[in-house]
């Protein structure tokens, strides 16, 4: 079983995934197949139904911007929250709520726009920026040396 860095070491984590799009559903299936308890939240029923057969966790249909939905997902008990909706600000708000309101130990959110990254990193949430990751990958593929090397 994979150990996830930065959290208390456990064999199984309780992970809440918000947003069941391409990324959310893949991560959900991956973590679920590794034996973690996974709950996926999305406002779109079709998105939840599209989860693969490998996924053995729970799904919750609802708006993740509403506290009641997050309470239903038992975010207060979660070890990790992954916030992967398509809207940057929505993700930042949900991540802040997870951190401040539900005291989730690890909160990782996706934001496409790199400009707000530093500001919100200060609030104790980790932000994954696909744009910056793509830039890195393309740099690597083209073998462009960065400033520091």
């Amino acid at each position: 079983m994979a150990i996830i860095k930065g959290t208390v070491k456990k064999k199984e984590y309780y992970i809440v995934i918000i947003g069941c799009g391409r990324l959310g559903s893949r991560i959900a299936s991956l973590l679920s197949s590794q034996g973690h308890s996974v709950v996926v939240v999305d406002r779109d029923e079709d998105a939840l139904q599209a989860l693969s057969y490998e996924f053995s966790g729970f799904t919750i249909l609802g708006e993740a911007t509403e506290l009641d939905t997050l309470k239903n997902a038992k975010l207060d008990k979660a070890d990790i929250a992954l916030v992967l909706s398509p809207d940057d600000n929505t993700n930042i708000m949900i991540a802040l709520v997870a951190k401040e309101y539900f005291s989730t130990p690890r909160v990782i959110a996706r934001a496409y726009d790199p400009s707000n990254l530093e500001v919100f990193s200060q609030f104790g949430i980790e932000i994954i920026c696909p744009t910056l990751l793509a830039v890195e990958s393309i740099k690597e593929a083209l073998e462009i040396a960065g400033d520091e090397s």
């Binding site: 911007t65 509403e66 506290l67 009641d68 809207d87 600000n89 929505t90 930042i92 708000m93 949900i94 802040l96 709520v97 401040e100 309101y101 726009d113 400009s115 707000n116 500001v119 919100f120 200060q122 609030f123």
Partner: protein, 219 residues
């Protein structure tokens, strides 16, 4: 003092008018280009066309910590991000945000947003109050702990013609002032309650029904 308003159409329009009339300078930030052009024509305000939840837009505004920052968009998450960016960039103390989901009030407060207004909640209170009897008006509807009502004394009132000390008002309530014609009477134990008096009554919100029933009678 500068007042910055991010988003919001009609609310931004009317607030701009009000703040300009009071002599403040107003900065409008809006994503809608046509709205920006329109506001620039109508008002002596600085109009910025851009995304108010983008750090680069906020940082250009050159604000000071005692300026007022108001986020009025339809999206709670955009409003939260805007206010947090403004606090971060200029250490603004007075940030205000509109929340559409009343549950978010608590979330925004925890994140240090100074004033959080929920139109949904205000409407809900107003609708509830409109169901109250016509003699009573809730004049302080913002707290769930204390209620302040304006109560009109009519012929049916059980306390009519009684002195305050004999009126047997429940302990959770107190009459703070009596408006009698054009006068204001600060009531003492021997003050008589007269017809047409308008009472300003403070009470524990939990005892609201009992206090009001004692003053105007049961329905």
């Amino acid at each position: 003092m500068k007042v910055v308003m991010v988003g919001g159409r009609n609310i931004a329009y009317h607030l701009t008018r009000a703040f300009l009339n009071k002599g403040h300078s107003v900065i409008i930030v809006n994503r809608d280009e046509a709205f920006c052009a329109d506001m620039a024509k109508k008002f002596r305000a600085t109009v910025v066309h851009g995304d108010g939840s983008d750090r680069h837009v906020i940082e250009q505004l050159e604000l000071a910590r005692d300026d007022l920052f108001v986020a009025l968009t339809m999206h709670d998450s955009d409003n939260l991000v805007s206010c947090l960016l403004a606090k971060q960039a200029f250490a603004i103390e007075n940030t205000a945000a509109l929340v559409n989901d009343p549950d978010n009030k608590e979330v925004f407060r925890r994140m240090g947003i100074h004033t959080v207004v929920s139109p949904t909640e205000i409407l809900a209170t107003a609708i509830e109050d409109s169901m109250l009897r016509e003699e009573i008006v809730n004049i302080f509807p913002t707290s769930d702990k204390v209620a302040i009502f304006r109560v009109q004394i009519t012929k049916e009132s059980p306390v009519l013609g009684k002195r305050i000390r004999e009126a047997e008002i429940p302990e959770e309530g107190v009459i703070g002032a009596i408006m009698r014609g054009t006068d204001v009477v600060i009531p003492r134990g021997d003050t008589m309650i007269e017809e047409q008096d308008v009472l300003i009554v403070l009470m524990n919100a939990k005892a609201q029904t009992r206090v009001l029933e004692r003053l105007i009678g049961e329905e």
